[in-house]
């Protein structure tokens, strides 16, 4: 088969699949019900160090893996400074979670193979987090 034709077909299929998913997602979000209010009594703020993040998509992948963990209310993951540890840029994550539904160990398991370490874990009443920078300089 003609190579160009094959390439065009592959591109059209990719665009079609992504377009279809976009349409479905938009429809879902417009029909979505409001989130249930969070009980602030059991909220904890966890700060963690994350090693092994090499590239720009890593913080997004780790952040969304944490978001998928039941009990996580808010999360931000990013790079801190330009410090290089074992060839990777030092990463940091901050999570607000419901202590009755999850714990730091479960969250560290959720981001494997990235190596996470708890820096600080304390009770909080706020679900707000300042977003961490997801870019780093060369």
């Amino acid at each position: 088969m003609n190579k160009k034709l094959l390439l065009i077909i592959i591109l059209l299929v990719l665009v079609g699949v992504i377009g279809f998913r976009l349409a479905v997602k938009n429809n879902e979000s417009s029909n979505a019900v409001q989130k249930v209010a969070v009980d602030t009594k059991n909220l904890h703020h966890l700060a963690m160090k994350i090693d092994g993040m090499y590239c720009a998509s890593c913080p997004y992948n780790v952040e969304n893996a944490l978001k998928d963990t039941p009990g996580v209310v808010n999360v931000t993951v990013g790079f801190v400074g330009k410090e290089i540890i074992n060839g990777t840029v030092e990463g940091r994550g901050e999570v607000v979670y419901d202590a009755t539904k999850t714990n730091p160990d479960k969250m560290l398991q959720a981001i494997l193979p990235y190596k996470g370490a708890v820096v600080n874990d304390e009770a909080t009443t706020s679900t707000e987090l300042a977003p961490l920078s997801k870019t780093f300089g060369l």
Binding site: V17, K25, G52, S57, C58, Y60, N61, A65, D68, P113
Partner: protein
């Protein structure tokens, strides 16, 4: 640019895609709906292996290219013609430069631009 030169240039482009697959790969899988954030974590984590793989791919392609060129010179008759080593070296160098530049563009420009969009609208 001659056809042979283009072929080797394409090898450089393919090498750059292979090298940046660690960062683009998870985004493609998420965009197509065949992966979750947790399941694609190990792809990004193994970046060094993708870089080594791309480099090996490029070296093997360069060796095959030089052998092909050598054979083409030897096949053309009395054997008096010699391989233009300088020209081949320049072609390989240009392809290597293209690979490095494209890899940097993909990793440090395209991925930071696409990652938030993919996770915001398709996940």
């Amino acid at each position: 640019m001659k056809n042979d030169d283009k072929t080797f240039f394409k090898i450089g482009v393919l090498g750059a895609f292979l090298a940046s697959l660690c960062c683009i790969g998870p985004l493609i899988l998420i965009a197509l709906g065949v992966g979750t954030a947790s399941s694609v974590l190990s792809i990004g984590y193994n970046k060094p292996y993708f870089l080594i793989g791309a480099l090996l791919f490029f070296i093997v392609a360069a060796v095959f290219y030089i052998r092909k060129k050598n054979k083409a010179v030897c096949d053309c008759g009395d054997g008096t013609q010699k391989l233009d080593k300088k020209k081949v070296a320049v072609q390989i160098f240009i392809a290597l430069c293209a690979m490095v530049v494209l890899y940097l563009l993909l990793t440090f420009v395209l991925v930071p631009f696409l990652a938030p969009l993919v996770y915001k609208y398709l996940y």
